[in-house]
Amino acid sequence: MIDLRESRVTLGGFRLDVSAQVAKGTRVALLGASGSGKSTLLSLIAGFLTPDAGEVWLAGQDATAMPPARRPVSILFQDGNLFPHLTVSDNVALGLRPDLRLSEAQRQTVTDVLDDIGLGPMADRRPRDLSGGQQSRVAVARMLLRDRPIALLDEPFAALDPGLRAEVLGLVDAKARARGLTIIMASHDLRDAERLCDRLWLMEAGQIVLDVPMAGLRAAPPAALAAWL
């Protein structure tokens, strides 16, 4: 589903240099210290950065020069990234049509998604009237409505307290399983990674230095992961 072929990005003194593949339905946790290149790698896959060299293949197509909106990718940002002047319903509907000129069928889809994640009664509220967990749910709803096979999660749970974090993680887990999404999630927290993902990439200085299955990691962590932990 994701094939990074000797992709290289240079930003000032920092260089990202990766070659990696992710099979359909795989859920990868991207761990590493701040500045190791997690966000740069997500930006490369999302299309916010174009590689200086190499290729990015997504869902069987060469996406190297493809603009972000055309990529088979949806993104969950760190703080939910909701528009404060739009209602919950409109924030979610942006995932379907940015101009918000929805057909009746599309309106119904938005309503269904909101009902599905338990935000139906809050459709007409503004983000400021929601709790942090509810705002995260709206962002998840928008991501689901995009209906793309790849989901990029850019530390989306970092600002949530443990209770809300578990709640939103559970929601993403359930929906991703139901839709067979391929996920790459940047995180600082191994527990989040264990809960959602089945594979782990550890990044250091712009390179993936460890690519291992998640199962059994706690019992016998490889040296690189043990050092990072």
């Binding site: 999302a46 299309g47 972000p68 909106a69 940015p98």
Partner: protein, 519 residues
């Protein structure tokens, strides 16, 4: 975890003293003006015309400067190109420029014998006349466009890059960007910006002095000057001063309520991002907008430089003496502004409800320097020869004018330094002086340098207070330049303009640079 800003108790007394000083220096002259003023019925038709003209020119200037700034700021926000940072700095130059120099530059380009009229005549069109309302508005747009662009650019760059990335990933087209991002941004920013420029233009004196005048183009400030200087009618000057105070306080109160200023210089070095919905046509349009803005803002400066070079070496000695006086006044003004700003900023930063202190600090922008000057003259006249106090009073009043800008630059850094180091300093048992030296001042170097530069530049270019007070042989460089223009010694005036421009930019650069040493 939220950290409460910790008090710097030693600065508290200094903060209260500085606030009291600012209150006395602004309200004292205002009270003197109020006591001396004629009854409100004393306003004649000419005075009402001046009030009307002041409001009309300020409103038109605010609207044009703001509307023109929108496409320029948008182009700067969504484009990255070599020299962009330098262009942003250069476009800010007119804000620092002495008004009289700016007006001379505009006359060289748009005046009767200016480059534009030469071009119009050459192609058989009628020349334009910029004296009166068009010229006053043109000059105000020229002087305030950089401020408007800078504030709008800050607002644009304050949009989180995640929001722009989300828009790109959702496939926003230009219309969607306008609807969901830019409209909300402008709705938040424009009212305050309009009011701020309106306020600045109501207190503008030098522009009206040179490009206005006569019954149809006299501002209240100019009317005060005329009543003062030509008729020595202190009662009428004071009454007009009260009118000016009412205008400024009205606009100032509204501006204080609506203006949301970001920190100066903030957000200019964010990582580049592709702007969603971009196209070749939009790139060309942005390029044209930036080119036109650059030409409009830099051509008058180029004209001043081009026309001033030849006469510069032959300037009469009294112009050089005036230049030395201007530099001295600017240095005093900068030091005074810093001495006031530092304790007031500390006072504001250590409290959560600091509205009153902030309002006191902002008085300088809401009260006309000419009115304070008039009040100071009324107060000082019985005690001493005001002409002998012209330079100190000019320095002091310009320090008050610069104070709001300094506070805007200092307070956020002061707050963050206190939040960051306050608990540590508390735990280490540091004294107020030690905190100031080790924790606060190192963090404030940049805004202190910038603010001092701003105060010095404002003071260098002042042609309001000094015009009220000065006697022959006591003038600063802007006043000498105005006298040269009035006596039709155009070459010498152009040389003096170049000297004034160079000195103003130099003192600003030196102060600003000193704040960046070892960065």
């Amino acid at each position: 975890m939220a950290i409460r800003a910790q008090p710097v108790s030693g600065l508290r007394g200094a903060g209260i003293f500085a606030c009291a000083l600012v209150l006395c220096a602004t309200l004292g002259p205002l009270v003197a003006v109020a006591v001396r003023a004629e009854a409100p019925g004393g306003l004649g038709p000419a005075d009402w015309a001046a009030i009307r003209f002041t409001l009309i020119q300020a409103a038109l200037s605010a609207v044009f400067a703001t509307l023109l700034a929108v496409p320029v700021a948008r182009a700067l926000a969504r484009r990255r190109f070599p020299g962009r940072g330098a262009l942003i700095t250069l476009l800010g130059a007119p804000f620092l420029l002495p008004v009289i120099v700016a007006v001379l530059g505009l006359l060289a380009v748009f005046g009767r014998n200016g480059w534009v009229n030469h071009g119009l005549i050459a192609v058989g069109l009628a020349p334009i006349d910029i004296y009166g309302l068009p010229g006053v508005v043109l000059a105000h747009v020229f002087l305030n466009l950089p401020l408007a662009v800078r504030l709008l650019l800050q607002a644009w760059l304050a949009v989180p890059s995640e929001r722009i990335r989300l828009a790109a990933s959702l496939g926003f087209r230009p219309a969607d960007m306008r609807r969901h991002i830019e409209t909300a941004l402008l709705w938040e920013t424009l009212p305050g910006l309009l009011l701020l420029i309106f306020l600045i233009c109501t207190t503008s004196f030098a522009v009206a002095l040179i490009l206005g005048g006569g019954p149809r183009a006299t501002t209240v400030e100019l009317a005060i000057y005329q009543a003062f200087r030509f008729e020595f009618d202190l009662g009428r000057a004071a009454l007009l001063g009260l009118v000016q105070v009412a205008l400024c306080l009205g606009a100032g109160a509204l501006a204080f309520r609506f203006v949301r200023l970001a920190r100066f210089g903030g957000g200019l070095d964010r990582a580049p991002h592709p702007w969603p919905g971009d196209s070749a046509a939009r790139r060309v349009a942005d390029g044209v907008v930036l080119l036109l803005a650059t030409v409009f803002l830099l051509l008058p400066l180029a004209a001043v430089a081009a026309k001033g070079v030849a006469p510069l070496p032959g300037l009469p000695p009294h112009v050089w003496e005036a230049a030395a006086r201007s530099v001295a006044v600017a240095l005093v003004s900068a030091c005074l502004a810093l001495a006031l700003a530092l304790p007031i900023a500390a006072f504001i930063a250590r409290r959560t409800a600091s509205g009153i202190v902030e309002a006191i600090g902002a008085l300088g922008i809401a009260v006309s320097p000419l009115v304070i000057g008039t009040g100071a003259f009324i107060l000082l006249f019985p005690l001493a020869d005001p002409a002998r106090l012209a330079l100190p009073v000019t320095g002091a009043i310009n320090a008050l004018v610069a104070l709001p800008f300094l506070l805007r630059a200092l307070v956020p850094e002061m707050r963050s330094a206190m939040a960051l180091y306050g608990p540590l300093a508390e735990a280490l048992g540091m004294t107020a002086a030690q905190r100031l030296r080790h924790a606060i001042l190192p963090r404030l170097k940049r805004p202190l340098g910038f603010g001092a530069g701003l105060a010095a530049a404002f003071s260098m270019g002042d042609l309001g207070v000094i015009a009220l007070f000065s006697a022959p042989g006591q003038g600063t460089l802007p006043l000498e330049m105005y006298r040269l223009m009035g006596s039709y010694r155009t070459d010498d005036a152009q040389g003096a303009a170049l000297l004034l421009m160079a000195l103003t930019l130099a003192v600003f650069w030196l102060f600003d640079r000193s704040g960046r040493v070892h960065d």
